[in-house]
């Protein structure tokens, strides 16, 4: 459960990603994120900073760029198996989901430092223009997922005159 889920006056979940803009780049928001993480961990019943082994989730960071022809989505997903990434498009949103499994190896001596994210992820990104679902292309390279969503002609901006 994320801290946002228990804040009742938050809007639609679909727009969640809009509020995440550059939160790591801003010192104050960075602090807020940290506090939110403490709450997240507390309310998920796992205590402070210790995540349960089962049911772990993470949120990949996403950049969305719009050009005249297309909308391009990039998600940072280092160390994924291509087969574990699921990309789908419906009416007005792009859904990225999947699971990042931990690398298999013996852990006899234990963990000295764990900062990377594992578990399942789910992101729904609102698409602000009409796109041709048939022509959507996705590729995974160097740990970055790129999804290219070509716009259909009907979605182009039209200026409205004021009467």
């Amino acid at each position: 459960m994320s801290f946002r889920d228990i804040v009742p006056w938050r809007g639609l979940k679909k727009n969640d990603s809009l509020s995440r803009r550059d939160e790591y780049e801003d010192a104050f928001l960075g602090l807020q994120k940290h506090v939110n993480d403490l709450f997240d961990n507390f309310f998920s019943g796992s205590g402070f900073g210790i995540e349960p082994l089962m049911g772990r989730t993470f949120t990949p960071k996403v950049d969305v760029v719009e050009t005249d022809e297309a909308i391009m989505v990039k998600a940072e997903l280092p160390g994924m198996d291509e087969k574990e990434i699921d990309v789908s498009v419906n009416d007005d949103s792009l859904v990225l989901k999947g699971e990042k499994k931990e690398e298999k190896e013996e852990k006899k001596g234990g963990f000295h430092r764990v900062e990377r994210s594992y578990g399942s992820f789910y992101r729904r990104i609102a698409i602000p223009a009409e796109v041709d679902a048939e022509k959507v292309e996705a590729s995974y390279k160097n740990g970055v997922l790129t999804v290219n969503l070509p716009k259909t002609g009907t979605g182009t901006t039209k200026k409205i005159k004021l009467n």
Partner: protein
Amino acid sequence: MSNHDKEVEKMVFVPKVDVIEGKNNFTLRADLPGVVSEDVDVNLTGDLLTIAAKVKEYEARGLPMLYGEFVTGDYEVSFKVSNKVDKEKIEAELKDGVLTLTMPKAAEVKPRQIKVKAA
């Protein structure tokens, strides 16, 4: 290009790192999304292991961003490598944006059974 863009180009991030100890090796993994193997430098100077990686110019820069959650920048992180590691035998591999360093344990810290000879 505005000054702001130039500032962004110079940004350097500390990658997220896992260090796991196995029986014979320490394994270090660093998340370096968007990096290709030619652009990673792993250097060991004395005890100091430095990982530096450059990210190629992000092709979308300058276009209107609808959401921007990650800033493209370079990565750098340093570690002090203890005597437990055999520094001559460190191996590095980059795959899918993850750098894996395999650091074999030095012979003196490996568990070793000493055979008792019958006299």
